[in-house]
Amino acid sequence: MTVEYTLFPLCEYAVTVRFSDRIDEDVNDIVHQTAARLQAERKEGIEEIVPAFSSLTIYYDPLMIDYIGIGAWLRKNIRRSEQAVRRSARTVVIPVCYGGEFGPDLPDVARFHGMTEDEVVALHSAGRYRVYMIGFSPGFAYLGGLSPRLATPRRSVPRTKVPAGSVGIAGGQTGVYPLATPGGWQLIGRTPLKLFDPHREKPSLLAAGDIVAFQPIGADEFARWSEEHD
C-alpha cells in the first residue's frame, strides 16, 4: 500500500502529519509504525511525537529546528511503501466489576438491546479493543472494536459526577473514565485500576496502539484490588 500523507503546521512549534481523514485500523497501524520510527530517529529539537486516529503531531523547538527542517526530516522518515503490519501489540487486561452500584446503567443497556445483563457482560468482555489514541482527558483511551450489538445512545441527562474507573458505552464507543468527571455515557461497570496516576513513571495505564481486554470480576475481588493498589 502506498502511503499518502499531508503535512501542515499546527502552530509555531508543532506540525501534523495526516494520513487519512477517517478512522481505519490500517491507517491507525501506519500512524503507530510511523510514530515508532520517528521516535527511534528522533533528533535534537524534537520534543514530542503524539499519535492520533489517523494523524500524528510532532512538537519541536522552533528556535532549534525550523518548519523546513522538520518537513525534510519527516519526508526522510515516512516511507511511501509502508505496509500496515499487525504488530504484536501489548494487551492490557482491565478487570471490571459489571453491574450493581458500579454499573447502574447495565439494566437499561440490556433492556435497550433485548438482552439479559449477563449477555451484555459476556459480549463486552469477549471483545478485544484497540487503543486508537489517548486524548480528551489525561489517560483517556479512544477504543475501537465495540460490538455493534452493544451500541447504545448516551444518557439523555448526563451525570454531574461519574466516578473514576467507570466503564461506559456511548454510541458505538466504549471506554473507561480515568478521572471523576461529569459525563453522559451509559455506565455498565467499574475497574479498580487507575487509568491515570500522575505519580507512576508512566502516568497513563494505556498507550496508543495497545489492545484492551476486559475481565469480569466480582465485588469482593474489586474491593481486594482497590485495597492492594491504593
Binding site: 502552530c11 503524539v50 522552533p62 489517548i134 491515570f196
Partner: protein, 323 residues
C-alpha cells in the same frame, strides 16, 4: 513559607509548563501569559522556570515568613505592601511579617507574583503547574485557599536590603490595555471548509469573551460561523491558541489547559506572539482577529523571544549591580 491570608478569585501555582505528556492526554499548561511570567521571574533574580502565583481578576493577600524579593507583573492590579503602594513590574525586598495585598484588576486579567527561590511545591510529572481538571501539580492540584501555606525555594543567597530603584519600562506592558484586543491568527487546518461569509466574518467582526472562559478555553460570542458542508471530523491535535468552532457556530479559543485533541473544525490558530494579549483578555472584552501567514507568525514569535531575552539580559545586569 508564605501564608495565604486571602486567596483571591482564582490563584494557582504555575511554571513554564508540563512537557512530554501530551501522548498521555496531559496538556502543557503553565502560565497563561508567558511574557509576564518570564519577566516576573527574572525581576526577582530567578533562573527562569521557577513556579509563581497566577492571580486572576482579584489577587491574593500574602504574608511572608521569610526574607525574599517579590515582583508582580501582568494586568494592572493595585498592590500594597504593608498598606503602602507597591509598583508592578519592579523587584521589591520583603521581610518576615510583611503583607502583600494584590487587589482587583483594573485592566488586563492576570498577574504573576514571583518570589525569589520560586514557589517550592513538589513537581508532578516534571512541573509545578496546577492542572485543575486532573487535580495535579501546584498545591494539591487546586487553586489557593485562605489558610494555605506556600513553601518557598532556596533563594540566590545574597541579602537584598531596602528597595531596588529600578523596574521595567512601560514598553514591557504595552500589550495589556484596551477593551478590544487585536490578536493575529493564522487560518487553521479546516479554514477552507467554512463558508466564504464565515471566513470574512471571522476576521472582520469582533468577538466578545463570554463569562464561560477559563484556563481551558474562552467561549466567544459574535457572528455565527458555518461550514460549507457538515462532516464528521476525526479528532486531531489541538494546542493553546487553536480556535475551534462547535456546532453552535460560536468559536472557542483553547487556552493553556485545553485538552490535547479535539474533534471540531479549526478555523484559526492564534499566533504564539499574541497569546499573552489573549491571556490578558477578560469576560466582556472583545477579540479582533487579524489574519497573518504561518511564516510571519513564526518570524514574529522568534523576534518576540529575542526581545524577551534582551529584557531578561538587561534585568540580569541590573541584578549584578545590586550585589
Amino acid at each position: 513559607m508564605i501564608d495565604v491570608i486571602e486567596a483571591g478569585l482564582f490563584t494557582t501555582v504555575q511554571d513554564g509548563g508540563r512537557f512530554g505528556y501530551r501522548h498521555a492526554g496531559v496538556p502543557a499548561g503553565g502560565a497563561m501569559d508567558a511574557w509576564a511570567y518570564r519577566l516576573a521571574n527574572a525581576l526577582v533574580g530567578n533562573n527562569g522556570d521557577e513556579a509563581v502565583l497566577e492571580a486572576t481578576m482579584a489577587g491574593p493577600t500574602l504574608r511572608f515568613r521569610v526574607e525574599a524579593v517579590v515582583a508582580v507583573c501582568g494586568g494592572d492590579f493595585p498592590c500594597t505592601l504593608n498598606g503602602r503602594t507597591f509598583a508592578l513590574w519592579k523587584p521589591m525586598a520583603v521581610e518576615p511579617g510583611d503583607v502583600l495585598e494584590v487587589g482587583v484588576c483594573r485592566t488586563g486579567f492576570r498577574a504573576y507574583i514571583a518570589v525569589s527561590g520560586g514557589i517550592d511545591v513538589p513537581p508532578v510529572m516534571g512541573s509545578r503547574s496546577t492542572y485543575v481538571p486532573a487535580q495535579l501539580g501546584g498545591l494539591s492540584g487546586r487553586p489557593l485557599q485562605r489558610g494555605d501555606a506556600l513553601p518557598v525555594g532556596v533563594t540566590h543567597g545574597r541579602r537584598v536590603i531596602g528597595r531596588m530603584r529600578w523596574g521595567l519600562a512601560s514598553a514591557a506592558r504595552r500589550y495589556i490595555g484596551g477593551k478590544t484586543k487585536t490578536v493575529r491568527a493564522v487560518p487553521g487546518p479546516e479554514y477552507d471548509e467554512f463558508t466564504p461569509a464565515s471566513r470574512r466574518q471571522f476576521f472582520a467582526a469582533r468577538y466578545e469573551v463570554t463569562t464561560q472562559s477559563d484556563r481551558i478555553g474562552y467561549r466567544l460570542s459574535g457572528p455565527t460561523l458555518a461550514l460549507v458542508r457538515e462532516r464528521e471530523m476525526v479528532s486531531e491535535a489541538v494546542v493553546f491558541g487553536t480556535v475551534q468552532v462547535p456546532a453552535s457556530g460560536q468559536p472557542i479559543v483553547l487556552m493553556a489547559d485545553s485538552q490535547t485533541t479535539g474533534g471540531y473544525p479549526r478555523i484559526a490558530q492564534v499566533a504564539a506572539v499574541d497569546l499573552p494579549i489573549l491571556a490578558q483578555a477578560r469576560p466582556g472584552d472583545f477579540i479582533q482577529f487579524q489574519p497573518i501567514g504561518p511564516e510571519e507568525a513564526m518570524w514574529l514569535y522568534k523576534e518576540q523571544q529575542q526581545r524577551l531575552a534582551r529584557w531578561i539580559a538587561a534585568i540580569r545586569r541590573q541584578w549584578e549591580g545590586e550585589r
